[in-house]
Symmetry: C2
């Protein structure tokens, strides 16, 4: 039977990564730097329009699990795929990375893919066809895997799926019954805005730790950034907020720790930066590190992944600490 110290849950996606200029993003009517949801027809049409691509396994929470494993941590992932070639690729890559992945299959939809367009400013704009992920539901929340973990981590994107809120509730039940701590990522400002009441309610009731960037924090507490940071402890016991080149901060009611970004890296593709930040932070907290060391580990992981194309580490993170 699979077991893991940290279990992440989210959309199981294979990324189709291509370079594009800003005009292409505008011409295609995409919201830049965001995650745009698309259907199967649009996916076919978009594939014809983009430049040469490479296929790399992705998915926000899956990337986080791979990052934890790359540090030498014990990680598991729950997500849904199809028994097609992309499903085989996804399963190979996450298993070969050492993550426990008891696959859950959907018979009616293909494995999800995301067309990720990297613009010259290294920003990524995502266009995700959810495919098999759309049917992930409360019955797929592997009780034994979650019950045996110290932490369970939910990606915010999942809250937007038809049965995503049901997944969240079921995970919270299992976590509470088994003393598993619950973390979640805000994922995207639109995700917070679309589900503001339900998501903030869930965080207040169930989350021990949240992750977000500046935009996502401001979607929780509109207005001034510093004021938003001060208000965070009203909502959740612990938060880690990333600020891109401005570094990051870990926030609790008693402590605010700022950690600078790594200075000496050539940024190539920011895809996966937030996912790998969460990986390092969770790895640190799970093994007992404090806020500052955890934020430093998070920074190491994020720095590795933005130095190359693709949202998962190419080099073992355990060798970098």
């Amino acid at each position: 039977m699979s077991s893991a110290s940290i279990v992440t849950i989210g959309n199981a996606i294979v990324d189709i990564i291509s370079k594009a200029d800003d005009q292409f993003i505008i011409d295609q009517g995409m919201e830049k730097s965001a995650m745009n949801l698309i259907d199967g027809d649009r996916a076919s049409q978009l594939y014809d329009a983009i430049g040469p691509a490479m296929e790399v396994s992705g998915g926000s929470a899956a990337n986080t699990a791979v990052g934890i494993s790359s540090f030498g941590g014990s990680a598991g992932f729950i997500g849904k795929i199809s028994e097609d070639l992309l499903g085989k690729v996804f399963t190979h890559d996450i298993s070969a990375a050492g993550v426990a992945f008891p696959p859950v299959y959907d018979a009616d939809h293909p494995t999800a893919c995301s067309f990720i367009l990297v613009t010259p400013d290294t920003e990524r704009t995502m266009n995700t066809y959810l495919g098999a992920c759309i049917t992930l539901n409360e019955d797929d929340m592997n009780e034994e895997l979650i019950a045996g973990a110290d932490w369970v981590y939910l990606e915010g994107y999942l809250f937007d799926a038809p049965r995503g809120p049901g997944c969240y509730q079921r995970v919270a039940e299992i976590a509470h019954a088994n003393n598993t701590k619950l973390a979640l990522s805000l994922s995207d400002a639109w995700c917070v805005e679309r589900h503001y009441d339900a998501l903030t309610g869930f965080i207040a009731d169930h989350a021990d730790l949240i992750f977000g960037n500046e935009d996502e924090l401001l979607s929780l507490f509109p207005g001034d950034f510093d004021a938003a940071v001060k208000r965070l402890p009203e909502l959740v016991a612990e938060a880690a907020i990333t600020k891109g080149a401005g570094g990051s901060m870990a926030v609790t009611s008693g402590e605010v720790v700022a950690v600078p970004a790594q200075q000496d890296i050539k940024v190539v593709d920011t895809t996966g930066a937030g996912d790998l930040y969460a990986a390092g932070y969770l790895f640190g907290r799970q093994r007992g590190d404090g806020l500052e060391r955890s934020a430093q580990l998070a920074t190491i992981a994020a720095s590795e992944v933005i130095s190359h194309i693709g949202a998962r580490p190419l080099d073992r993170l355990a060798d970098q600490i």
Copy 2:
């Protein structure tokens, strides 16, 4: 109808690229830095054994065509695929790169893939399952495309396919009848050694230009490197020989030009170095550049491709000259 100034011919392959240590190469009984041919069963077994991977279109002559197009040249490619997902990926990537590719399909075998293992020394060891490529034959040599081109370029690997020598002969006939110049790459020392008499005979009778690295040159003329360079004009009117970090040289009976390697690049993955060298050199020669400028363009292309994972340029080569 498709047309191109330079047409390349070879195996249509999707690369499955993974990092590996040297012990893995030894344990798996592979010849390091070479191209190892494998069958379908071995491909499945190997996929289970390798680490996380990324999928990127490849194939030696196909990479060369993409490089020519990236310089702004007019390129075409002839190769065989299946109507499966990897075939769709291959067709998308080469077409999106601006290469004329009238696909030829095989109904009985899947699209070829090559498991490329990149060791810490940045060398690549390839394990190729030829799939649909195995049936490429003389009837697939697109007469109109080749007849309309200034240059046709054959990869040496193709000579090893069951009907590869037939493809070579047919291409030579079309080229001679239409004043299309013929170039070929030696591809791999084993390829030269296995087919020494037939391949050297073909070069002497039909080739206007050959490409090779030091090992491949020595497989043509065993012994001393400088002596081998001197003997090249006995065999072929023009040759371009790469020496890795030692730069490269272009050789004719009247002229030997040495061009240094680019010094300021961090080598990540040498896959595609020779293919992109040939792209730059052919692009230069086709537009009328001399040996030195062509070797410099070749060096620019090879330098770009070894600075990242994958055997095709990520950035437009036309912007770098």
